[in-house]
Symmetry: C2
């Protein structure tokens, strides 16, 4: 690991990465989660008499599954190790029920870009990509589909669009269109917890538009890992069989279940705060020349932040801020469609509470000034 004075051979991003563990404040996320601390806190949060789950059974896991089903207004829910597993399973079930191999999804869908095409390699499914990769999909996009579909997958919010959400009426229209065609509607709700404040509706009201819903426990909720799939009783019963097949029905899932339970209870009420804070941070960032956010204003806790300037100088200055102020602004900068404009994903969580909007604006003014953008 490079130190502050030993940067001759390090790339700017490696230098920044080396400094992140020394930071005390973080713009994104919930702050560092050291395994030793997380596990000790988890032991504290666990009742002395709680018995381990066994292969998906037992009060510890079943009561949490009922809690999630209740929150989402669905008959039943099954705890899964990952969304990758949960969503493939939902789509396989809808495919077998409809006798159709194809599901529709946006081109930036997790199944299309982040799962090594497992839907095809494991389940023999086909993806029909709908809409423009740089924009939310529309009802017109759906109406243009000319292939029988087993299911329509909608991601709320769309992470790769900076966390954009369709307006409520559009969401109602799209899901109604699918149901009118006899197509099951599945929600990639990896960040559903973060979406409900924008709609001003309960999780159950949003989930009611969908047949099956996947939710995650490690993103905004901040648990170690884990996911759930909720839906009709018979679908979830079938999903439990596929959970065995995927190798996800572990003898004990309690580290993830307990972590999900404790953090859900801790943070579920905080999502309106994360959204409000994201709005304030976006205003502070947008005030800095050379900085833009998407969506503007943010609709959830997250946004994409765009920085105009020389990438190496931006990274070097972020490293200087990490070294001098022990503040981590981002982990790296990715390319965008525009030359000379770089981006990072910002997800507001607990950690941003340690920074004022004025401090955030000031750090980015320093950054943009060093990069020659101001």
């Amino acid at each position: 690991m490079s130190t502050a004075t030993d940067t001759a051979a390090a790339t700017p991003v490696a230098e920044l990465h080396a400094l992140l563990p020394t930071c005390e404040r973080f713009l994104s996320g919930h702050g560092p989660q050291r395994p030793k601390d997380v596990l000790a806190a988890l032991a504290d949060d666990t009742g002395a008499d709680e018995q381990p789950d066994m292969y998906g059974e037992g009060e510890l896991i079943e009561s949490f599954e009922r809690e999630i089903a209740g929150l989402l207004g669905k008959d039943d829910a099954v705890f899964m190790v990952s969304g990758t597993m949960a969503q493939q399973i939902a789509l396989r079930i809808w495919s077998e029920r409809s006798g159709r191999p194809t599901f529709a999804c946006h081109p930036t869908c997790h199944l299309e870009g982040s799962e090594q095409k497992a839907y095809q390699a494991l389940h023999g499914l086909r993806a029909h990509l709908v809409g423009n990769p740089r924009a939310l999909l529309t009802l017109d996009d759906l109406r243009a589909v000319r292939e029988p579909l087993a299911a329509l997958l909608l991601e709320l919010p769309q992470r790769h669009l900076g966390g954009q959400l369709p307006e409520w009426d559009e969401l109602v229209a799209q899901t109604a269109w699918a149901r009118g065609q006899g197509i099951a509607v599945h929600m990639d709700g990896a960040r559903l917890w973060e979406s409900a404040p924008y709609y001003g509706r309960s999780y159950a009201e949003v989930a009611a538009l969908f047949d099956t819903v996947y939710v995650s426990f490690y993103k905004g909720i901040g648990a170690i890992a884990g996911a759930a799939l909720a839906g009709p009783r018979d679908v979830i019963a079938e999903a439990r069989v596929w959970k065995v097949r995927h190798g996800g029905n572990l003898i004990h899932l309690y580290p993830y279940v307990l972590s999900a339970r404790a953090n859900l209870r801790r943070r579920l009420t905080r999502f309106p705060h994360y959204h409000a804070r994201a709005l304030a941070v976006a205003r502070a960032l947008s005030a800095v020349p050379g900085v833009a956010v998407k969506p503007d204003p943010p609709q959830t806790h997250m946004m994409h932040v765009y920085l105009r300037g020389d990438r190496d100088r931006l990274l070097a200055e972020a490293a200087a801020i990490a070294r001098e102020d022990r503040v981590a602004l981002f982990r790296g900068l990715g390319p965008t469609d525009l030359p000379g404009v770089w981006s990072f994903e910002l997800a507001i969580g607990d950690a941003a509470d340690a920074l004022t909007d004025a401090e955030i604006e000031s750090h980015f003014r320093r950054l943009m000034s060093a990069a020659g953008s101001i």
Copy 2:
């Protein structure tokens, strides 16, 4: 939950189950593992500066994978959430490399009976069942196979045969036969740690007969859950892609990795003791009329125990022993080929250290006497 005096409506097995949490000593396993205690101990076993693994990367998980690869004398190893996932992946890889859809395994193989035929439903593989379900497979069984094979799967020891192991020369002959035919050899080493003492060889020497090896961390090792697949570098690299597809490449696997690491270090040297104790317990049990063990003598830490008599009376007396002496002898009794003979699986671990051989024999004499077998 039924109490000791409220048994009118309870079945004998439900009555026994209700008493198990009140027991203080256990014939099988490592004793109760309450989540709160396990997580607190795990936090103690973890270094304050250890950083979480991220999607399969990071020193925490990579150093443990190197440790496992080293123990097994293989190029590389990948940590998996389950053996179900690890073994399907190994067989899929060998199938794609050979261009053949079929693997050979014993009829009691985990993939055939305990995974909802995932090898077929997810991977399009076929199982060619070899040998008699009540006996170890033989070289003659293999020579009789008349179908091109991608891989031969051998389980060491065979759990459903009471933990039987082929003799070393037979194992060498079978694996050599497969390799001579250009067939990959995969080990279901769910209980490999328990097998090496019988062979008097290192894990690496046993694993050297195989191309890929799956090992488990929650059975004899006593971790919360988890498994590893070890083998040639290119095969394990490919397995990491399939781990993503299966939904097993979680953002953080550290609860399982840390638990596997701590318990492996704690117990790996104890397996010769478990085997020696299994031999002594088997002698004590065999001395009781109506009791038999398989294999006799045990070859590993485990055995199947057979009890002749009335099932309900055996269960009721086991419940009485649990209630009065707070000793758990077994969790239930399953049917066998013989009418009036029942069986349970006994796996010697740390818990049996709290019972002397004389006590064990005495409890079983009481049991068999109550069941009218003595």
